[in-house]
């Protein structure tokens, strides 16, 4: 990454809502126009800040679900019933609304298919809405015609909960954990050693591995990968949860 991209201060930018639509029953896709956005690498996240009339602010982090080649920023926001920010974002924002955001943030959980001379296989493993950063990675992989072999193993409750199906379909193996449609021939149940062995790159090709999901999911999968013989240094984890209150 260029030196200029490393050394810069983050500032809050006004972001105009272009669209807010239901992606599934629990997740909305919010699309923003952000003048002055410096670009990003798939896997990076951003912070959104909401300010009430009395000056009270609430702030949350979201993975960016679109590649830098896409002119708008896409977020996949899961509505948490007890949440302070996600119900507002999903239910109360409309095109033309202006929010504040800052980013891109994070240089740890990133992979750019557009700048990948190494071309070693990449294995992505997602639980639920943890697939969001992988949507950005795979959309970029498709748009750039990257030669890097990449696979996604995606654990989700039901078929109706699959996010960005058109983007993920060429890469993904699904496992459904709650409910399967009639005639479902695919995998079911939580990701375990047998499922990893069937659907992920084996340790001997030394894949770069990214795991994203709720904390318990991410740690269970990472442990199973190490037990299967993967080098822990090749595994990057992003646990998600509430990062607000600060």
């Amino acid at each position: 990454m260029a030196r200029a991209a490393v050394q810069r201060r983050l500032t809050w930018l006004p972001a105009t809502v272009v669209d807010n639509r239901a992606e599934t029953s629990r997740v909305h896709r919010l699309i923003f126009d952000v003048p002055g956005w410096q670009g990003h690498v798939p896997g990076q996240h951003l912070d959104i800040r909401l300010t009430a009339e009395d000056g009270y602010t609430a702030q949350r982090s979201y993975s960016i679900a679109s590649p830098p080649e896409e002119p708008h920023l896409h977020l996949l926001v899961e509505q948490l019933p007890e949440g302070e920010v996600s119900p507002y974002l999903t239910e109360q924002t409309s095109p033309g609304d202006v929010l504040e955001l800052r980013g891109p943030i994070g240089r740890f959980f990133v992979w750019s298919a557009a700048d990948d001379p190494e071309a070693r296989p990449v294995q992505l493993i997602a639980g639920g809405s943890g697939v969001a950063p992988f949507v950005a990675m795979l959309d970029q992989h498709r748009r750039t015609g990257s030669a890097t072999p990449v696979r996604l193993l995606y654990s989700t409750r039901t078929l109706d909960d699959v996010l960005a199906p058109a983007t993920l379909e060429p890469y993904a193996t699904l496992t459904l954990t709650r409910q399967t449609p009639a005639g479902w021939q695919g995998e079911t149940g939580r990701i375990d050693a047998a499922l990893l062995a069937r659907h992920t790159f084996p340790p001997d090709v030394r894949p770069r591995i990214f795991v994203c999901g709720a904390t318990v999911f991410a740690e269970t999968v990472a442990t199973a990968l190490v037990d299967a013989g993967h080098d822990s240094a090749m595994i990057r984890i992003e646990r998600y949860g509430i990062t607000g209150g600060l």
Binding site: V6, S61, R107, F108, T215, E238, I242
Partner: protein
């Protein structure tokens, strides 16, 4: 670290990654610290900050070593002040190239 009688770690579900502290730390630092190599003053192990464990639900952001669980960084922003405690971090190495 406290454990429940069934052996599970009650703090596990709250655990996030140092990666998620990147935005807050950007209030202080001109570089993104999530890919910085950090050496734990407790056990001497080194990892990228993004791989450290973050507990974000306390009054401060608390970052702990993934190897020995020692607190390496605490960060709080309140009432117009930012507080930073990095006693547990022995060395931070940032690649600028």
């Amino acid at each position: 670290m406290t454990e429940t009688t069934d052996g599970t770690d009650p703090t596990a579900a709250r655990r996030l990654d140092g990666n998620a502290a990147g935005g807050a730390l950007a209030d202080l630092f001109a570089v993104d610290l999530t890919a910085a190599q950090c050496r734990c003053a407790g056990c001497g192990s080194t990892a990228m900050l993004g791989a450290y464990h973050l507990y974000a639900d306390s009054p401060a952001l608390v970052v702990r070593c993934p190897s020995c669980t020692q607190v390496v960084l605490r960060y709080a922003s309140l009432q117009g002040r930012i507080l930073l405690d990095m006693r547990g971090t022995e060395l931070v190495t940032i690649s600028t190239g």
